[in-house]
Amino acid sequence: MRCSLCLFLAALFGAQIICAQNKQLLYDFYEIPQSLMVNPGVKTMEKWHVGIPMLSGLAFQAGTSGVTVNDLFADDGVDFTTKVREHLIQGMRKRDDFSTTSQIEGFNIGFRGENRPENYYSFGMYGETDIIVYWPKDLAALAFEGNGGSNIGRSFDLGDLSLRGEMVNVLHFGINRKVSNTLTIGGRAKIYSGIFQFQSINNSGSFRTSQGQNNIYTTSVTADMQLQTSGVEEIVNILDEDTGTTQKDLASLFIKRVLFGGNLGLGFDAGFTYQLNPRTTITGSILDVGFIHNSKDLKNYTLSGNVNNEGISVFLPEDIPNLNNNLWEDLVDEIEEAIPYEENEKGYISFRPVKAYGSIRYNFGEGSTFNENCGCGVNAQSGGQNDAFYRNSLGGQLFLMKRPRGVQAAVTGFFQKRLGRGFAFKTTYTADKYSLTNIGLGLNFQMGPVNFYVLGDNLLGYQNIANSHYASLQFGFNIISWNDN
C-alpha cells in the first residue's frame, strides 16, 4: 500500500522535465509498433498491427527537477517549514519545474500497402495531457519571506512565473516508406482537438522595495504578465455548479471536445532511418511541429504597467488644494490605474512542444531467423544485409525538446538484445543536467500474434521511490501479423 501510494506520488512529483516526454526506451525499439509514434520513419517489420483499444499505448511520466517527495515528507522529525525553506525556497532554481505527461491511445492501426508493400500506413487517435510549472523562485521567496527585513533592496523577478498545460486529443495518419534498402522515411499528419489549454509564458517585470527618495521605503512594480486560458472556464463553471449533474456535464463536454468540438490545430511528425552499412544505422525524427488555434471558451488575465509607491505623500503648501480624507483610497486607486488587472477573451495560438530525436545504432552478434519468417517481404533481406539479422545492438540517442524556457536535452546510451521473435529487451542509460543515474529497461514480448511491451525508466529510483526525481511507465498490447499464415 505504501509503495503504491509512493508510486502515485512519484508519478505526480517524479521526473525531470528534460525526461518528461523523452521516450528513449520506445525510440527505435522497432519490434513495438508504437515506435512509429516517436519516429514515423522507423524500420517497420510487421504486415499489419492493431492496438488493443485503450490498451495499446499508455504512458505516464511525471516529476520535478528539484525537490523530491522524500525531501519534504520523509518522517525524519525535521520541522516541515525548515524543509520547505531549505529544499524549495533556497534549494530550487528558477529553471526547476514540476511536470506531468500522460498519453492514452484510443486506437492505433497499421497496415502495409497491398500494391505498394514498401509503404506502411498507420493511423489512430490518442489523448495527451502535458503540464509544466516552472518553479517561481522569486515569487515563492516573496510569499515566504516577504519584501521586508533582509529583502529590502532585493528585486523579485515576476518573470519567474512560467507555466503551461494542455489536454489534447490527436487524430493522426502516417506513411512510412522504404525508399531503398538503406533508407526509410516517414511522415505523420496530425489534427489536434484541444480539451483545455493554459499558459503563462514570456512574463516579465519586477517587484522591489528599497530605501525611498522621500519616505522611508519606495516600492517599485513593473509588470507585463499574462495568463491565457482556453477551455478552462466552462470546466470551472461546471465544477462550481451545484446541480448534481456535474459528472454528466463534464463527461458530455469532454466527449464533445475529444470529438473535435474543441479548439482545433494542425501538426506533423517526420523521421528517417538510414543504414550506413549493414551494422550501423542512424535515425532521426521531429515530432509535434504544430499549433492549436484557441478561439473557444477563452479567458485571459493580464497585469501590465509600472508604479512607484512611497505611501500617502503630502507636500505643503503645494498640496493644500488637494487635501481630503480619502488619500488612502486615492493612493490605492492610483496604483490600480497604473498597473491594472484586466480580463479579456482574445483568441491566441499555442504551439505544441516540439520534440526531436536522433540516434546511432551498431549491430552485432550472430544472425537470427526473425527476419526470414517475416511476411513483410519489402524488409526481408538475407543475412547481414538487414540490421534485424543481428541479435544485439548498441548505440546512443539524443533527445531535444522545446520548452517555455528553451531547449532541453538528454543523452542516452542503449543496449538492445533480441531473443528470437518472442522476446526483446532494451536497456538505457540516460544522462541530463539533472541526473546521472537514470537506467531504464524495456521488455517486448511476442506470443503468436499478441504483442505486449512494458517500459520502465529510472529503475534505480524504485529503491526509494519517494526520493526519485523521475518515474515513468509505458505499456501496451497489440495484435501483430507478420505473415499470412
Binding site: F73, D79, F80, T81, G146, G148, F475
Partner: protein, 183 residues
C-alpha cells in the same frame, strides 16, 4: 489467449512494483507549514517648508487632516497580522520647534492610540522612533481596528525666525514592517 495476454503483463508490472520501496513518509506534515513573510511599506509622508509654517503663524497647526487608512483593517490583513513595527523618521531643518501628533481612530472615530513627537529646531539630529506591536508590545488590535489617522503638525514657536540652511523644511516619514501569517 487470456494467459498469453495478461501473464507477461502482470509479471512485468508486478516486478516494477515489487522492486519499488520507499522511506516512511508523513504527508500530514503539510499542516505544520508556517508561511510568515515580513511585509514592508511606506505609509505616510509629509513635507512642509519653513515659509509655509511661518505663513500659518506661531503656535498653530500647519497641517491637520484626518485620512482614511484601512491597510491593517482589511479583513484578509487583520486576520493574519502577527506582529511588527511602525517606523517614524522626522528630519527638521527649519528654525522651528515642532510637534506632530498621530491619532489612530476606529470606525466610530474613537481614539485607539496616540503617538506624539516633539521636534527640536535645527540643528537637531534625525528623530527615529520604532513602535512595536504584538505580543509583549502594544496591542496589535490598535492597528487592526484603525480605519483612519488624524495627523496634526504644529509650530510650537514663533513665525518669524528663519533657518540659515538652504530650503529649510520638515519631513515626516513613516513606514510599517509587519509579519503576516499566510499559512
Amino acid at each position: 489467449m487470456r494467459r498469453l495476454f495478461f501473464q507477461p503483463a502482470l509479471v512485468a508490472i508486478t516486478l516494477f512494483l515489487c522492486l519499488s520501496c520507499s522511506d516512511k513518509q508523513d504527508f500530514n506534515q503539510f499542516d505544520d507549514l508556517e508561511i510568515t513573510p515580513t511585509v514592508a511599506s511606506s505609509i505616510f509622508y509629509l513635507e512642509a517648508d519653513e515659509t509655509h509654517i511661518n505663513d500659518i503663524g506661531s503656535f498653530a497647526n500647519f497641517y491637520s487632516q484626518t485620512v482614511d487608512f484601512e491597510a491593517f483593517n482589511e479583513k484578509y490583513v487583520s486576520e493574519r497580522l502577527l506582529e511588527g513595527k511602525l517606523i517614524y523618521e522626522i528630519e527638521n531643518t527649519t528654525s522651528k520647534t515642532l510637534n506632530f501628533t498621530i491619532e489612530f481612530l476606529d470606525e466610530e472615530g474613537d481614539i485607539l492610540d496616540v503617538q506624539v513627537f516633539d521636534v527640536d529646531p535645527t540643528p537637531s539630529p534625525l528623530l527615529i522612533l520604532e513602535v512595536f506591536y504584538g505580543p509583549g508590545d502594544k496591542n496589535i488590535d490598535i492597528l487592526t481596528n484603525t480605519t483612519s489617522l488624524r495627523i496634526n503638525g504644529s509650530n510650537q514657536s514663533d513665525s518669524t525666525s528663519v533657518s540659515g540652511l538652504s530650503e529649510p523644511k520638515v519631513r515626516f516619514k513613516s513606514a510599517a514592517e509587519f509579519i503576516f501569517r499566510l499559512k
